[in-house]
Amino acid sequence: MTEKQIALTVNGTEHELEIEPRELLVHALREELDLTGTHIGCDTGNCGACTVEMDGQAVKSCLLFAVQADGSEIGTVEGLEDLPEAGDGRSDLHPIQEGFTRMHGLQCGYCTPGMMMAAKTLLAENGDPTEAEIREKISGNLCRCTGYKNIVKSVQYAADVYNDREPPESPVEHAESGVEAAADGGASRTDGGRADAFTSDCGCDRADPSHEAGTGSGADE
């Protein structure tokens, strides 16, 4: 069956691809362009881990054939750091990335790229959303770790930066050490560094008896 030639502008860089029509956009991003920050979670269109920005709108890249994106501008998690808003907060990261790292908006990180891209399209059209608007916008993205509370706080953190308000201090000590790892959805993090980085990110004292009940940002919803 014939391949088709398509042009995708991904994070500002134009790519010409020869692909089969049956190839999904998420496969083109991950397998042809090696942009593995966009995740495949459920394979059914429910989980939203594959959310990318397409011509300014959040879409699920597992529900689109790549040929349908021919000529489109695609934004993925890898591009956040290069956007104009990057560096407006307390680090070189995009405010949304910074929000997720500082407000403990991820645990396993699998949903994070999709969450951040959904948040990015929200903040592009509504720079100062209410909590309800944030929750509505991420309602197509499932997180099985955090209970969403800290994800909402992470997006609110970014909105604070967008609106020149002082964002809240991170409840997590040593937030900076986790910054690089989360910036690309965890893609660049090595397994060897993971365990150590996680404990230092977490910032909790494991000898502290309140640990289990207290610091878990977990399933409170």
Binding site: M1, R22, L24, G45, V59, L63, L64, V67, Q68, G140
Partner: protein, 339 residues
């Protein structure tokens, strides 16, 4: 899983699309793709050829023209959500749009695609039925207009021929005294309806001049309940009449027991949601407003949701709606009997 191999055709005009549909063997039409792409990925559908409409310019219009609301084949659910025209005058459309799928799905999925998919759990067919709308199809022999009431045949099946393309939906423009609403019961975001009910009322000097009720997910297709509408026409709206209409809707429904609920529960909710939709439609007909609230009725709020209804209807102070409060009393009692 990857979809089976297929040829992708991207016509740039409706004429080209129709001629492709005529010449290709067993083509499938790709609109928003939010149902078709997963079906193809699971190989529940494995068409050899796909005719992708997204390259056709000028099919994304939503406008009133010559007494008709026209919705083009590439109007997305999110476009309906955002359209000021819808928010002001077409309450049932304004209610239904934000309850479909999730934000990402609504950015891609189309209204026409939902109607042509003809899933009995789809919402737009029900709204179209309640508005006595039409489906406009283009084929090799030209254009034909199919009344919504004659469109649906079976689950995922309708009267379209394989070489016909739906170019638009048409709905009579809402009159000044008209109100409509859609109520949907679903367990969570992204789910299809367990039960949905659309209602449309037109008032003339406090008397119902037009009324229609249609239902989602309780039969083999989206269905209209003409007897419920007829029961209301020529009468002043009242809680008693709305209760009767709700019972008629439940009587007409043929829900099936599944993992989401028993047939008895769905039948009861058909009655309740029909009453709610009628109460919303009346409120809007009386006040010239479209969406009084989100129209949301998910599983968690249904029991408590009656409070909202009584607030909404108690706002209606003219004589024709003084029965509004009793609608809610009845509903509340009935809800408590649900499962």
């Amino acid at each position: 899983m990857k979809a089976a191999r297929f040829e992708h055709h991207e016509p740039t005009t409706v004429e080209e699309a129709v001629s492709l549909l005529e010449s290709l063997d067993g083509p499938t039409i790709l609109g928003g793709g939010q149902s078709l792409v997963p079906l193809m990925r699971f190989r529940l559908a494995a068409p050899d050829t796909v005719v992708d409409l997204n390259g056709i310019d000028g099919l994304d219009y939503l406008r009133e023209e010559d007494g008709t609301l026209r919705i083009g084949a590439l109007v997305r659910h999110a476009d309906v959500e955002a359209a000021g025209l819808i928010g002001e005058r077409y309450g049932s459309f304004a209610d239904a749009a934000p309850l479909i799928g999730d934000p990402q799905v609504r950015n891609r999925g189309t209204v026409v695609g939902s109607v042509t998919q003809s899933d009995p759990k789809g919402d737009w067919g029900t709204v179209l039925l309640a508005h006595e709308g039409e489906v406009v199809a283009r084929g090799p022999d030209g254009e034909r207009t199919i009344p919504a009431g004659e469109f649906f045949l079976l689950p995922y099946d309708n009267v379209l021929d394989e070489d016909e393309l739906v170019t638009e939906l048409r709905v009579p423009v809402a009159s000044a005294g008209e109100g409509s609403a859609y109520r949907k019961l679903k367990r969570k975001v992204g789910d299809y309806a367990m039960v949905g009910a659309a209602a449309r009322l037109a008032l003339d000097d406090g008397v119902v001049s037009e009324a229609s009720v249609a239902l989602t997910a309780v039969d083999i297709t989206n269905v209209a309940v003409p007897e419920a509408g007829e029961h209301l026409v020529g009468e002043r709206p009242s809680g008693e009449r709305f209760r009767d209409a709700g019972e008629m809707a439940a009587e007409a429904a043929n829900p099936e027991t599944d993992e989401h609920g028993s047939a008895r529960y769905k039948s009861n909710m058909t009655r309740v949601l029909t009453q709610h939709a009628l109460a919303d439609a009346l409120e809007r007909a009386s006040h010239g407003r479209a969406a009084a609230d989100g129209g949301t009725a998910d599983a968690r709020t249904t029991d408590g949701g009656t409070t909202d209804r009584s607030t909404a209807t108690s706002g209606a102070t003219d004589g024709s709606t003084t029965d509004g409060g009793s609608i809610d009393d009845g509903t509340h009692r009935d809800c408590a009997g649900g499962e």
